[in-house]
Amino acid sequence: MSGNGLTYSEHGGEAAPELAQEAAPAVTPSAPAAFGLFSSDTKKNEDLKQMLESSKDSAKLDAMKRIVGMIAKGKNASELFPAVVKNVASKNIEIKKLVYVYLMRYAEEQQDLALLSISTFQRALKDPNQLIRASALRVLSSIRVPIIVPIMMLAIKEASSDLSPYVRKNAAHAIQKLYSLDPEQKEMLIEVIEKLLKDRSTLVAGSVVMAFEEVCPDRIDLIHKNYRKLCNLLVDVEEWGQVVIIHMLTRYARTQFVSPWKEVDEVVDEYNENNFYESDEEQKEKDQKMKTTYAMDPDHRLLLRNTKPLLQSRNAAVVMAVAQLYWHLAPKSEAGIVSKSLVRLLRSNREVQYIVLQNIATMSIQRKGMFEPYLKSFYVRSTDPTMIKTLKLEILTNLANEANISTLLREFQTYVKSQDKQFAAATIQAIGRCATNITEVTDTCLNGLVCLLSNRDEIVVAESVVVIKKLLQTQPAHHGEIIKHMAKLLDNITVPVARASILWLIGEYCERVPKIAPDVLRKTAKSFTNEDDLVKLQILNLGAKLYLTNSKQTKLLTQYVLNLGKYDQSYDIRDRTRFIRQLIVPNEKSGALSKYAKKIFLAQKPAPLLESPFKDRDHFQLGTLSHTLNSQATGYLELSDWPEVAPDPSVRNVEMAELAKEWTGILGKPKKEKPTEKFYSESEEEEDESASTSSSGKWSGSDSESEKEDKEEGSTDESSGSSSPSEESTDSESDSKESAAKKTCRAVNESDSEVIKKKAEGISKKRSTSSSSDTEYTSSDESSTGSKSESDSKSDSESGKSRNATSNKVKKPVQDRKNPKTQDMFLLDLDDFCPVTPVAVPRAAVLSPSLAADLEGLSLSSSSVIDVTTQACVPTKTHELLHRMSGKGLAAHYHFSRQPGIFGDRMVPVQVTVTNTTDQKIENIHIGEKKLPPGMRMHEFNPIECLEPGGSLTATMGIDFCDSTQTASFQLCTKDDQFNVNIQPPVGELLLPVTMSEKDFKKEQGMLTGMNETSATIAVAPQNSARLIITERVVKAANLGVVPSGQDNIHRFAAKTVHSGSLMLVTVELKESSTAQLIINTEKTVIGSVLLRELKPVLSQG
């Protein structure tokens, strides 16, 4: 059984009918008699056989339900095998399912008969329906018949290249089953695993890693190339897969990266994401600091960063997996972030609590600080089960320190009185531990424990005695009084352990209580025969010690006791008596030892250590079964120590060219694959797409990020002047990699396929952003004249800069020139599939001012630089074009994608999503007659040939609104119908954002005064006054670019109108008492005033 949501839910489903039958016997007409009457098995089975022979499916189904019910109850149904197996080819899917369940249970016992069914599965493996292919593979691999191993192997191999990720997932599951059936197949299976590890579907990732863990966990080399991909996919993998992957990556990371725990204090907190936005100086400082200390491998950081969000998972196993990952891999300063989530899990079921508390107990010993803030979360409730109570107590004790001990002791007082005596006793132990660990409270605790000696409950008293004994041993000097007190208690206490403890104490410190000790011996000698063995031994002990120190008074008594012991029933006691007598009573036979008897008996004994049972338990990986049991479980994989020197990190590099190839491959696929079976294959196709887009999107995103990190480190190293050769080589490698990628980009660009062009644009866009962020760093480097960077790094950065500059400037016109022809539906519509886009909002908003500021610093010419930039934000708002009711089932929405210049420079791009809500195909969707105001132009989208029921497609069209908010009316036509629709643009969408420096902004503003200026005073809701929020809200409402501003209270935005290219300058100046002045400068006064009106509510609304 392997970990994945889908299979599980299906198994859940399979189990369900078994229960269903039980819960609702009336459902099956023939069933009522069956209940409780299974005893007459033979007769009943005849009946079942007949039903299975029946020509009616309903009878067969009833029979199968009852048979599966028998299996579930553990009854033997094997004799029905021949009758059941005949039905394996049934057309009825319900019957088929149940026959499968039966086969999985009995095939191993009746191998020959089971072979009859194999051909059915082989046929099903070729079924066009992916669900049937998958279930055939599942059953085939669950039938434990060794003779079919070659067939299984073949089936797995084929399924591993199936087009459906769901089938590939099942192939991964089958690997484990085949391996457990025949370990000889290992090598072949590893080949399949290697192949499936390269799979990009999130559906497959968890299952194949599971297979990897089961079959070849030592083949770490298979992970290298897939490491980054797995890290990046992780968030989207189903929860069970996440657990498995995280555990595997924990082990991997411990073999590949160096320890982040050395020089703990000096490690730069790279983690702090803010440093991205920090000023150059700070960055520089950090860089300098870093060169002398440890620098974390970016891949190591990638893992930590990508697992962190999973702490918010609803699945306790996932949270625990991340927690243990941080515990074993993160710098000590970061491990703390897991505490809160672990504490949250304590609200869960008792079983979850049990495991989590155990792990917290281990953690809290080593790093108290992690859980100190949550001390009260571990307070015990009277309704907690005892095992939970004791674990909480354990943690409370671990967390005790000088500051909180008094609170804790007060809490412990309540616990001591608990009706749950086992727990009360544990509390007393805990108090003892606090007393030894925190010297300030030793006396307080001791007094408290002494008070408990007069407790009514014997268990409490006994436990107190035992703990006091241990405590006294640590500092016996002062406590004669307590010993006397305890001696008095001896008359009342009956619990053997406690009596034994008191006797031991008196014996050990008999010289401190010289008067009492002999008397105690006298009393106990009297009761000797009635005592427990434990107590008898201590009486003997006491006698011996007194004999040695005070033989005058106690000689006779001791001998009396020894005589009693000599004839005791227990041979332990007889042995001990003989031993003691030989040792202490000098006679001719006794050897040299008796001279040393006193030294032997009254030697200084080390005080027992009161320590947690969870100490050192963390040599087991946290969160594992072995940790819970505190002993190594079968199949436990040791966590290796950090390597001294990190192995070559370049093994994880993946060729970009290869990647690009794969992309095109993936992109091409959905086209080829014609929907065979409507419902599933379509969703499958979509899934494939979304998986590939999301993964590739993330890929490149994070890749550029990690590259950036690479750079950062590279430059640090270089500036330190001690660049190691390996570092350089990786650097150059990444360079070449980059250029290779560029090359492919270009090549791809030239190719004819529209789709690829789109994609390549996406890549180059990303690339340009990443290189612009490069500039940020290099510029900071440049400005730092103090730390003279080496010349080659400088030239490097310069070339980077120029590259970036060209890519920024040259790209646009090229795009513009090319694009007028470009017009197509988006096969991959990122906005549609990737809900993450809006997330970019604040980030971009924050980024751009600083970026622009850097650009300003770089531009030496005095001429104003006004460049069209990419949009800062893509509004998520969609507008309705055609309601499905009025469109006879065809629904259409549109939204403004703000992708600049797709259809030439005067067109506003509009994305139209058409959805077919009917149950029939809609054919030939196109734009018909247009009723446009004069001057307005429209670029239609290509007709959509056919839209499947339930399907939806997104197409992009362009409209030149002539800088007006007039409505564009046109007809949306299908093969049979025409619908009048119209699009009216919000004024904010008639703009193209531009960047310019503050200086240029002011200059331009100066030229647009008087008539060209409109302004208004508005009230700003207090929560909106933060820069971030203002920026976010404004760019959301209108497609404006952010202009850096030197003053905190002034925010500037700039754009030009799409049609005429007139500048549109927006200024928001915050005044006191939450008002603001909103100023718009533009030649296009009409648009200006409309924009003013629209922006007002944006800022004043809460």
Binding site: M1, S2, S9, T383
Partner: protein, 364 residues
């Protein structure tokens, strides 16, 4: 991973078994029964039991033990969490009054938690914000610890692939959150907005913890006078409760339970309202109070008879409290708005607030 699964009922019968690999004999459960015997109560049975060849991992719910047989190392929470999900599924399936004929089919939708082609004539989305107060109140009535845990449970029946966003007036209150997998984490990180394509039907959208800095309003108080005397076999028992910090709302569904010491033989009590039961076998006192009327505070008074000859109990019993308050989220959390994208119809939206007692204990 999980080799076999056994279901054991309260009387110790294995009434269902399922094997995924080879068949493991049910005699393996003997180790479980041994452990069960050692633990006096069901809830003290260790969730992980090692046996010579297997490991038994179990969960206990609805008086049924779900025992999974494991053969090798596995994260124990993986199995435990999974078993709980199995129980949830059973509960969903059998719990509802109309057991569907159709079994859920494997879903291969773009969003794995939602099937495609959902259609409703009435499109509706309801959200329940339910907060629970966990608290320990000491003898004198002061709060030792109190925290608020909340959940948002949703009941969404919307056609097609709706994309919802739910925003709060005061998202800062939420200190620690965990999401249904449908929630877009990044959107929450950056904007504190819950953005998601909902599963169809009932689901838990969000669980949260209200940050510890905020003082927790305790909506009820309990006055108690419970005393046992050494000399006599009679003790006194008296509790009164009243509202406090309820923001003007009614406290209802009040239920008091208390585990009496073993030496208590019987209790003779008169409630001013509601009904009470004392079970002399389990020694559990429960008092179904109902609503608290601030004008006439509910009380329960009377005497306790102790076993003759035993000394008085060391500890007074702890009082466990249940209550609920409708239309109030005690933390002050407020949903700002719910928007739907991706579909064009107008859904019916509803939001309900409720505050309940969680693990609410009063020490006496």
């Amino acid at each position: 991973m999980i080799h076999s699964l056994f279901l054991i009922n309260a009387s110790g019968d294995i009434f269902l078994e399922k094997h995924w690999k080879s068949v493991v004999s049910r005699s393996v459960c003997d180790y479980f029964f041994e452990a069960q015997e050692r633990a006096s109560e069901a809830e003290n049975v260790p969730p992980v039991i090692p046996t010579p060849h297997h490991y038994l991992l179990s969960v206990y719910r609805h008086k049924i033990f779900f025992v999974a047989v494991i053969q090798s190392e596995v994260p124990p929470l993986f199995v435990i969490e999974f078993l709980h999900r199995v129980v949830d599924t059973f509960q969903d399936y059998f719990g509802s009054t109309n057991v569907g004929d159709q079994l859920p089919t494997g879903q291969l939708s773009v969003v794995p938690w939602r099937r495609t082609g959902v259609k409703y004539t009435n499109n509706e989305a309801y959200f329940d914000v339910i907060e629970e107060i966990d608290a320990i109140i000491d003898k004198s009535g002061s709060t030792i610890t109190a925290e608020i845990q909340g959940v948002i449970d949703a009941y969404v029946k919307l056609t097609g692939m709706p994309d919802l966003t739910l925003s709060f007036m005061n998202p800062r209150l939420l200190d620690d959150v965990s999401f249904h997998p449908c929630v877009r984490f990044k959107r929450w990180e950056s904007e504190r907005i819950l953005s998601f394509i909902p599963p169809d039907g009932n689901f838990r959208l969000l669980s949260y913890h209200v940050s510890a800095q905020n003082l927790v309003a305790i909506p009820v108080y309990v006055k108690h006078n419970i005393s046992f005397r050494d000399s006599s076999s009679l003790g006194r028992f008296e509790i009164t409760m009243g509202p406090k910090q309820t923001m003007g709302k009614t406290v209802e569904g009040v239920m008091v339970t208390s585990q009496m010491p073993k030496s208590v033989l019987n209790m003779t009590l008169t409630p001013s309202q509601g009904t009470h039961v004392f079970d002399p076998v389990t020694k559990l006192l429960s008092w179904d109070v109902g609503k608290i009327n601030p004008q006439k505070l509910p009380s329960l008074k009377g005497s306790v008879s102790l076993q003759a000859g035993t000394s008085k109990p060391d500890e007074n019993p702890t009082i466990n409290l249940q209550f609920k308050i409708q239309q109030l989220a005690i933390s002050g959390l407020k949903v700002n708005r719910l928007d739907m994208y991706g579909e064009k119809y107008k859904p019916f939206k509803g939001i309900k607030y409720m505050t309940k007692a969680g693990k609410f204990q009063v020490r006496t």
